[in-house]
Amino acid sequence: MTLPQNQSPAEFEYYVNATSIEEACRALGDGVGTILAGGSDLWVQKDEGVKIFGPRLINISRVDELAEISIGNDHVRLGARVTMTDILNHGELGNIAPGLLEAANRFASPQIRNVATVGGNFANASPAADSVIPLICLDAEIELARLDGNAVAIRSIPSADFFTGPGKTVRTDDELITAISFKPRDGKSLARFFKSGPRPALEISIVSLGIAADILDGKLSNVRIALGAVAPIPFRARKTEALIEGQKIDDKLIHAALECLVSEISPIGDVRGSKWYRQHLARTYLQEALTDVA
């Protein structure tokens, strides 16, 4: 991309090739760091001159402890540097989180899936981020690390509360995303992910929708519905969730849920799609998910 004619590209005055979380956090300590992981968003945005980048480039792509996937009995933890390809190839993870598997499958392109990280997808905070949606549906928590004195301190933020605006999160400038963790649903459950676009790849979602719920006797409970690209941040459709919660799924409920969803979201229109189309797609995806359950 060329720059708009009045903006400068990001320049980096310092470079840190971190090999541990502690080292990365130390480099982030004074809040002027730019974190480099897969680079698939950063290297485009750097030249667009739209975002401000800290002058210290901190490469975390050799911090091995950030690349682990651990699956316990009631806890799944994805290191921040886990890539979309890692998710696709894992096998067990896909069975536990089929919505996440589908999001990874529809993510960008093979080359980008090979490097794009789940932590980066959260950090970049695009309203259209694909992997974020199924993880919000799983009530995932974001682990943030910072150096407190000489020790690394961790705090956890619910994924639905993580985003504050396009490109903005609650992460402070001295914090590093270290992991995304969630508790798998047990028993029979619903986990779907929908994304617009006839191309399987290279589509920035016009709308994406994730839904997760426990299924018992044709009723859904612990319902989570999240949408991408319908609001400035990834959006939890809480009113629609409440309407469906514990109810028998039938045509009447589906109809009410679709009405509720459309009234709950207020997407913008842009080059990728009008407000009407975004609402229409959201309605279509929820309809498909609920109809398949009923």
Partner: protein
């Protein structure tokens, strides 16, 4: 007994492209990869307005930046203008007319320094009232874009044949329609790039992606104030062109002017974003059509009026009506026809030529409309086409002899192979079944020139052929290969004629100082015209070889043949002499020494259109029929193409690999045009200048293609071949559009059939009282 050599058929075989090994190894240096010694880099400062008076351009800060070697503005530029009606000054000094306008250019040590210098250019403007649509620009009192043309009309064409009112009288039905064809652009993988170098004696070498290097010299010269003869155009390998380089655009004279000023080689490359905003688009057209027929569906008249959004300047887009007109007047037999076109200045970016020229637009309009007429006549899409099909050797209203065409064969084969009629009927029965996914099948056909197109005084091409002492052949041709594979085709034709292996042929075609003249690579003409010229030169050289062999043997030339590097006896293949040995014998023969060399200039037997648009401008014509079978998701609006049947009259197959590749590639481009490629231009601003938001077709969207080639064996074409490259791009989109109607019972008149447009059309049909916002 001597060795026996069987005849080998190189023409018609599946031959690997000569340049492929260099390309798969990454060895090919495209113009974008080239670096000349002491080369500077250039960038252009562009306006951020769409219509404004330029009050002041201050480049002093940019000039002062370390590493900057030159900054030029209109003040440093000769007065000459470029473009088909010479309305485009390379650097704008008085006013800007569209967002892509060039105000200053910088040459510096690096592109990064150029970028920094661009940020230091200061311009003061006085905004002028803009106008963006043809309708608004034609209103009395509309803002004037070009002061020399105060009516805002850049170009116009009118044609009529017969008498429309007679046609109306003969009609039982008259069907009207309006079709607006949108902005799309070439998206060459290699962005626009040129390198200029000035010799100490003042001669200019331009490394260029030009598709018409010989005429380009004439077009460039006025903007540079130099003699066209002092320009040499060198064509390094290019990353695609597809019509985008058929005119001179401001980057080339600007690059030369910077080289002149700095006396250093200067390279100017567009970023992808710049390519979207600056490089010319396909010409958008607004069509209005009225067409009549009898109750039997026999066409009686066709009346087409069109407006072309010309943008701020005039390039080849404004001339696309010359091709659009041919389809509107001559595709199917229509006794009474009229056509008009007006290219109207606006403050949008401007259009150039793009694969299919005006025929992509025309065929969308005509073919969707034919299916609408079939509905009215209660005929199926096959029957209405067959009843009105052009006949071989018929003369069109514009005076073209269609020659050995086979439109009926194209339609019948496409219909039979696809099982068209049964599917077509079944699909229609499902319109109201409430299912989400709908299946549709559609057909479209197209007529295109296939033997060159005489749009200049000459449509010729020259060849110089030499053979060395080892029977290696060098063919210098005027024809440019922009990736489509014409070099390989020419080599095949020559190899066949001279009986040498194809790897022994070297094609030279990248330098106007070496090659003989050619019009340029456009109009599906290279195989036909350059192929004919190469064939004639090869026949000449063959004659020289055979008569030399006659002298060396006791066999007369007419009983000899050339095969596998040998002169052989034609009847039994028995070797007479190795060609290389023969060449050395005649080369080193004392006073009689001679080399085998041949030259040819082939001018096709065609005529340019006269002022009334009459003339048989192509030496051959051809048709294609495509059938598309699609599945529509009526909720998301996404269309998946299940399969395509392509039937095309190719004259004669020369290279099966190349032929299939052109058809598959042309279809991919046509699918993009039909389904999702769409430059969104709002108030003159390009809103989606990137591959992120301008979607090219990728591998998963390509359906299987069943290809059938009809060999009509053109009497003039080389080996009987016709030009083939544009038809597939032209014809596929309306086949998809017609399939969409067959799937849903809903017409979408204006391409592309984007998911949103499809979803909206279905929604609005199903919710007539709830129009989508």
């Amino acid at each position: 007994m001597n060795k026996i050599i069987e005849k080998e058929e190189i023409v018609g075989a599946r031959i690997a492209k000569l340049d492929a090994p260099e390309k798969v190894t990454g060895r090919t240096r495209y113009i974008n990869d080239m670096v000349l010694p002491r080369m500077l880099y250039a960038k252009i400062f562009r306006t951020d307005r769409v219509h404004a008076k330029i009050l002041k351009i201050d480049v002093s800060k940019a000039e002062a930046l370390p590493g900057v070697h030159a900054v030029i503005t209109a003040a440093d530029t000769p007065d000459g203008k470029i473009g088909v009606i010479k309305d485009n000054p390379p650097l704008k000094g008085d006013k800007v007319r569209c967002i892509r306008d060039e105000l200053a250019a910088i040459a510096a040590d690096t592109e990064e320094i150029c970028d920094a210098a661009l940020r230091l250019v200061e311009v003061e403007y006085e905004d002028l009232e803009p106008v963006f649509t043809c309708e608004d620009a034609l209103k009395p009192g509309a803002p004037v874009i070009d002061e020399e043309r105060p009516d805002n009309i850049a170009m116009g064409q009118n044609f009529s044949h017969g008498d429309i009112s007679e046609g109306e009288k003969a009609s039982d039905h008259i069907v009207e329609g309006a079709y607006n064809v949108h902005y799309v652009t070439h998206c060459n993988m290699g962005t626009s790039c040129c390198i200029a170098d000035i010799s100490a004696s003042g001669k200019v070498t331009l490394y260029s992606q030009s598709q018409y290097p010989y005429i380009m010299k004439m077009d460039l010269a006025p903007a540079l104030d130099i003699h066209p003869g002092d320009l040499r155009i060198v064509q390094p390998p290019v990353g695609g062109a597809f019509g985008s380089k058929l005119d001179v655009y401001p980057n080339e004279p600007i690059c030369i002017l910077l080289a002149k000023k700095t006396r250093r080689p200067v390279k100017l490359t567009y970023s992808r974003e710049e390519e979207f905003i600056v490089s010319p688009t396909r010409q958008p057209v607004e069509f209005k059509i009225r067409a009549g027929m009898t109750s039997d569906g026999i066409f009686t008249f066709r009346e087409v009026d069109s407006f072309l959004n010309n943008g701020g300047y005039t390039s080849w887009g404004a001339t696309t009506p010359y091709v659009t007109m041919r389809t509107c007047t001559s595709h199917y037999v229509v006794p009474h026809v009229s056509y008009s076109a007006r290219a109207v200045y606006t403050n949008n970016p401007f259009a150039g030529s793009f694969r299919g020229y005006g025929n992509v637009q025309a065929t969308w309009c005509v073919e969707i409309h034919v299916d609408k007429m079939a509905e009215v006549a209660n005929l199926d899409p096959i029957e209405i086409r067959l009843r009105n099909a052009n006949e071989p050797n018929s003369i069109t209203p514009q005076g073209s002899d269609l020659g050995c065409i086979d439109l009926v064969g194209c339609i019948n084969i496409a219909a039979e192979k696809s099982g068209f009629l049964e599917k077509w009927k079944t699909n229609r029965a499902t319109w109201d079944d409430g299912e989400r996914y709908k299946r549709g099948i559609g057909i479209a056909t197209s007529l295109h020139n296939a033997g060159g197109a005489k749009i200049h005084k000459s449509d010729g091409c020259g060849t110089i052929l030499t053979m060395d002492d080892y029977a290696r052949v060098t063919v210098m041709t005027g024809a440019s290969d922009i990736g489509q594979g014409s070099d390989t085709v020419i080599a095949q034709i020559v190899a066949q004629e001279l009986g040498v292996p194809i790897r022994d042929i070297t094609i030279i075609n990248n330098d106007t100082a070496l090659g003989p003249w050619d019009v340029g690579v456009h109009a599906s003409r290279t195989t036909y015209i350059a192929g004919n010229s190469a064939k004639r030169a090869a026949i000449d050289a063959r004659g020289q070889l055979l008569s030399a062999a006659e002298k060396q043997s006791n066999v007369t030339a007419d009983l000899l043949d050339l095969r596998g590097g040998y002169v052989v006896q034609a009847d039994n293949g028995e070797v007479v002499i190795e060609i290389a040995k023969l060449l050395r014998q005649i080369h080193f023969a004392g006073e009689d020494s001679t080399l085998v060399m041949a030259t040819d200039y082939y001018e096709p037997p065609t005529e340019p259109e006269d002022k009334d648009h009459m003339g048989d401008m192509s030496a051959a014509y051809s048709h294609a029929a495509h059938v598309a079978e699609i599945v529509v998701d009526t909720l998301t609006g996404e269309i998946r193409i299940e399969k395509i049947w392509s039937v095309q009259d190719v004259g004669k197959i020369i290279n099966l690999n190349g032929l299939e590749g052109q058809i598959e590639g042309g279809i991919a481009m046509g699918i993009g045009f039909g389904l999702h490629e769409n430059m969104q231009i709002e108030e003159g601003i390009v809103k989606n200048p990137s591959f992120r938001d301008y979607h090219l077709v990728t591998a998963p969207e390509m359906p299987p293609i069943d290809m059938t080639f009809i060999e009509t064996d053109d009497h003039e074409g080389p080996e009987g071949a016709k030009g083939i490259a544009e038809l597939p791009t032209i014809v596929i989109a309306p086949a998809i559009g017609n399939a969409f109607f067959n799937a849903t019972g809903v017409w979408i008149d204006h391409p592309p059939l984007t998911p949103e447009k499809v979803a909206r059309a279905i929604w609005e049909r199903d919710n007539p009282n709830l129009a989508a916002e």
